[in-house]
Amino acid sequence: MKSKSLRLRLALWSVLLAGVALASFAAIAWWQLRDAKIEALDRQILDQSERELSRHWSEDHWKHHEHNMGRLLGAHDIHQTLLIMQDDNGLVYRSSHWPESLNPDQLPWPQLEDRPTPEKATDSMNSDGANPPPVGREDPEFSFPPPMRTRHSPPLFPPEDFPPPPGEPPRLHLPAFTKLSLDVGGHPWRFGLATAPHGKLAIGVDLTVVEADMTELRNAFLLATPLALGFIALSAWFLSGLALSPIRHLTSTMESVTAKGLDKRIAVGKEDQEFRQLIQVFNNMLERLERSFLQASRFSGDAAHELKTPLAILQGQIERAMAKCEPGSPIQTSLTSILDEVQRLGTISRKLLLLSLADAGRLHLYMSEINLTQALEDLLEDAQMLAPELDVRGSIAFGLTVKADAELFRQVLHNLLSNAIKYNLPKGWIHINAARQGERIEVSITNASLGIPDADRERIFERFYRADQSHNRQIEGVGLGLSLSREIARAHGGDLLLTETEVGQVRFEMYLPT
């Protein structure tokens, strides 16, 4: 499974959480606002009902009243209102556009209830046990706010308007209200129904305007939320980047830590409170690593060094014994092969030492003036002797000299040559060129070859890489490897490159400063 960036995940999670929070906020705000608007409308309707029910009015009054309803309700943009008034004698007034489908008798009129004491009057405001509404629904939570009731209810219905029947104790005849939402002609309507002792009044208001407002608000939310989310995403991306910057710093430092740069440490920054411990742990780990690496490097160096004295003794004694033998005698022959093996051991220990020094970055150079022309002519000669079947040619400028470590430099040349022979074609060719190019000397060894696959071109300079994958006798022989050859070239201030050539040949170029 592909691993995802922590930064990306942080940003996505932030967006998700913020999105949920924003969406819930918008939804709740929208509902609350809608409720508040409808409640305000309810209050207006109630006020109207209370005022208008205080008296008997003629049909004309109601007509006029309906005409002005919008203004009276304090909302000029309410254009559609409905009104119906009926008393005990029947219909007093009914809006001209009152839909036929809406039977006034089936409206859930609140029941008028007598209450003997004003204290309990408040309860009567609620309609309870009313007929179930034919259409729409009754707000179950319906109630008028207490201050209104206490403020308006007692003085609004003075006893002189509705005189109590004689002989009964004085009672407060309080109007009862209810409100409900109805669907009339495909539009949502809000109705306030009031029942007073002398009649019933229904006021309906078209909610289209409110709904239009709410739609506008919803659209505003729908537009603002993605914008806010985009902003949050950017911020989260930026902030997580900021938060992860010590990690990146850590990463880049870790990248720069190589076998040669184990002495690198990460500076503990002031602001990296949370990362301080990580950095310290990493630094401690580096320190241990450096110590053990140095120990390992020193060990192989020491081991190779310790081998030298016994090898020198062995080699010297065999050499001496050989000199004393009868030339060509069996004992001299076996001593020769022993000497060869001892010499091979010596070479291995030298290579080990060289590798361990190169790994530790302590490859030191014994610089001396080298006659490059001579060295390359020797190399040409070696090529002719080592591979007589190959066509070996050279174009070597006269009088080339370089400042270099003679032994290491010779090893690089031998390495390049042996590769050129090993990976040549039958009856192939080798060209060795050397010339001064401005401030530097360019040496190139080109040979006929099947070519190096593109995939291998980069890896060819890796330590222990071999195109033929044969690892037997790795250290022995010329097997210094291109990796070490390149390191040596670079240690001399030059470089070793595999250059692009036409198909069927391979060319290594070495640059050296003059």
Binding site: E319, Q332, L339, G346, D382, M385, L386, G477
Partner: protein
């Protein structure tokens, strides 16, 4: 030739001294750095062979002291190459050559001869065995009075063999001296080179070819009676 060897490893001293004496060198030996410095200061030697790791005063310190005292005697350091920074210091301090352990005594002797030639000039420039003459400076070779054109490797090889006529050199020894120790010993480059020399010399005359192969061992330059 009078040589001072300062080396504390007794077994190395044994075969080095033996090799030197066989070459006709006079060897004085000392196993301690302080004594070595005193001896080097007190007497005149043709070449001083110094080990670096020594009890008492180390080889570099001896070298430094000698050069400071104005002694210009050629010094050859026995080093473990690539060891530490102070090995570079050796050459900077005025060592004339160094040889890495393990080494062939023959190689050490060849280096001492080279050092000696560098100091004494013309004396040893001409090497002549029988009908073969070698001029080390002009690098000219003549066989039976006729000049032979040898390449660099061929010249170095024949010069190495000629230095000890009668002595057998193994291919590995030849490789190390002529090509350097890192050269792949499994190649037949030595044999090819010998063949080329024989061919070149054989073309110019009829005399006995001076290079003999010793079966299973290597090559030697024929000793003349």
């Amino acid at each position: 030739m009078n040589i001072l060897l300062v080396e504390d490893e007794k077994k190395i001293v044994d075969f080095v001294c033996c090799g030197f004496r066989e070459q006709g060198f006079t060897v004085e030996h000392c196993a301690d750095g302080n004594d070595g410095f005193a001896m080097a200061n007190a007497r005149e030697y043709d070449v001083i062979v110094l080990d670096i790791m020594l009890p008492g005063r180390d080889g570099l310190s001896i070298l430094k002291g000698l050069r400071k005292a104005g002694k210009t005697t050629p010094v050859l350091l026995l080093t473990a190459r690539n060891e530490l920074d102070d090995r570079i210091e050796g050459l900077n301090l005025g060592a004339d050559d160094y040889l890495a352990k393990p080494f062939f005594v023959e190689e050490l002797i060849a280096r001492i001869h080279a050092l000696q030639r560098r100091v004494s000039g013309e004396r040893q420039n001409i090497l002549a065995v029988g009908d073969l003459r070698l001029d080390r400076i002009s690098r000219e070779v003549s066989w039976l009075g006729q000049s032979v054109d040898l390449t660099g490797r061929e010249f170095n090889l024949i010069e190495y063999l000629m230095r000890s006529p009668g002595r057998v050199f193994t291919r590995t020894q030849i490789l190390e001296h002529v090509w350097g120790y890192d050269f792949d010993p499994s190649t037949n480059v030595v044999d090819v080179c010998i063949q080329r020399i024989r061919k070149k010399i054989g073309v110019t005359g009829n005399g006995d070819l001076p290079i003999e192969s010793v079966r299973g061992v290597g090559y030697r330059f024929r000793k003349l009676n």
